[in-house]
């Protein structure tokens, strides 16, 4: 699978350079002491978009068909996109965790609970994008897949808003520390399910 990873690396550098630079830039702003959580969460959302962009470019360049003639299985062709997603997630979560720790320590207000909530949130949002989008894209192609992704993302946001509205009055960010590990586990499970579903869809797809 070395060839597939190398090809995605070349493509990510060429087409997703802006995303990558924005991820680095936002994390640097967050490290610089900006307390707005947007600068911490946004890089994770951006990094999650990269595997989808790579898949869309593959389709546009007809690589999706050509790669089926190379010595790879369909499982490998699907898995490489999830591995790229996981690698980016790993880098963004570790960077965010460090940035947040530095910011809290320099301000002398380190709190494990807040740190865990934010790092967990970054992990969940990193995994959410590829998990929701890739199965649709592998089944329906990039264009239709994006439409279904938008719909499912809208539904998920609505569920989150509903859950937030039902929280008891006075619930603070530290109170979420107890549920964040569960949320992370659920995100990882959804990611694994999404990977499995994508393989199933792609194995049945015709070109």
């Amino acid at each position: 699978m070395r060839g597939l990873l190398l090809k995605d690396l070349y493509m990510a550098w060429k087409y997703c350079k802006l995303y990558l630079l924005m991820v680095v830039g936002f994390l640097m702003i967050a490290a610089g002491g900006h307390s707005n959580s947007f600068f911490l969460i946004y890089p994770s959302i951006m990094s999650g978009l990269i595997p989808m962009s790579l898949l869309a470019y593959d389709e546009q360049h007809k690589w999706d068909q050509y790669s089926l003639t190379l010595p790879y299985t369909r499982v490998q062709l699907v898995s490489v996109k999830f591995l790229v997603g996981l690698a980016l997630c790993f880098v963004v979560v570790i960077s965010s965790a460090l940035v947040l720790a530095i910011r809290m320590l320099t301000a002398n207000e380190f709190s494990w609970n807040i740190w865990i909530v934010w790092v967990g949130s970054v992990l969940c949002s990193c995994l959410l994008g590829p998990s929701l989008c890739l199965p649709f894209m592998f089944k329906l192609g990039a264009e239709k897949g994006r439409i279904f992704y938008s719909i499912s993302l809208g539904l998920l946001c609505a569920i989150c808003v509903l859950l937030t509205l039902n929280l008891p009055t006075g619930t603070g960010i530290t109170d979420l520390a107890a549920v964040i590990p569960l949320a992370c586990l659920v995100s990882i499970a959804i990611f694994a399910l999404s990977w499995w579903l994508s393989i199933r869809f792609y194995e049945k797809r015709e070109f």
Binding site: G3, K7, Y10, M11, K62
Partner: protein, 277 residues
């Protein structure tokens, strides 16, 4: 040994059916798939490569019943070479080296040079002909035993096409190698192929050794009255021309004294398709 055996291959789409195709490609040979647009050439190739699921039939390729088991030994050039547009030939070489166990970098570089392909120019700036040449260079750089070429010579100028056809001919000098090629440019197939398969509207009209076809069939130019003298089984197709009627005939049944001209594969195909209609 047969490199490729297709038996009763079928596939249905709304409005099109590939119907019960059977072909055998022996090792060391080249088979040309000839057919008009939509005849089923690309569908046949995609079914062999398992890009489409077959409704029925079997495909045995290099002795295995799944292409997945022999992909290392197959070089494929599709009508659109699906290389990412941002990659240059050097990067493509690295990607392929990471993909094929038998990748021959020296051979790849030699082919790039022979085909005058630049090593730093991105694929998006290649002409169609250059794109096809890169696809061919990749297919020939991993010690493949079977080349599957779908319109691989289209877009190439006549000089380069001749060079490429020569490269394919060199490839089949090795008795363990074989080529399945589809093309609209029947003259290329005529130069290269040992076997010719005619596809028309999803049906196999014939699959025969090229030399035998050229020996068996011929063209006669005659008047309508003269044509009536020929046995119905002898005449395989007719076409009106300003000089009379041109008829495709089976040479062995033509009475002595008739002038029978050689027929090209292209003419043979056109006559047969018109007759099938």
């Amino acid at each position: 040994m047969n490199t490729l055996e297709i038996k009763h291959l079928s596939k249905s789409f709304p409005g099109f059916q590939l119907d019960n195709i059977s072909l055998t490609l022996p090792s060391g040979c080249v088979m040309g798939l000839v057919g008009e647009n939509g005849a089923g050439k690309s569908t046949t190739i995609k079914l062999i490569l398992e890009m489409l699921r077959r409704d029925g039939g079997t495909v045995t390729i290099l002795g295995k019943d799944s292409v997945q088991l022999v992909k290392e030994d197959i070089g494929v050039v599709m009508d659109e070479v699906g290389i990412p547009l941002c990659l240059n030939t050097r990067q493509v070489g690295k990607v392929m080296a990471g993909s094929y166990q038998n990748w021959d970098q020296a051979r790849y570089e030699a082919l790039l040079q022979k085909l005058s392909l630049p090593d730093k120019k991105p694929f998006k700036d290649f002409s169609r002909g250059m794109k096809m040449k890169l696809g061919i260079a990749i297919a020939l750089s991993h010690n493949a035993k079977l080349l599957i070429l779908d319109e691989a010579t289209s877009g190439l100028d006549p000089v380069v096409r001749d060079e490429v056809v020569e490269m394919f001919r060199e490839f089949t000098m090795d008795e363990s190698h074989a080529i399945l090629i589809s093309s609209h440019i029947v003259s290329d197939l005529e130069k290269l192929c040992d076997y010719i398969a005619f596809l028309h509207q999803g049906k196999l009209l014939l699959c025969e050794e090229k030399d035998r076809l050229l020996e068996e069939y011929g063209l006669v130019l005659c008047t309508p009255e003269q044509l009536m003298e020929l046995d119905a089984d002898t005449v395989k197709g007719t076409k009106k021309s300003p000089y009379g009627i041109e008829a495709l005939v089976l040479r062995e049944n033509v009475p002595a004294g008739w002038k029978v001209s050689p027929v090209s594969i292209e003419d043979l195909f056109i006559f047969m398709v018109k007759e099938a209609k």
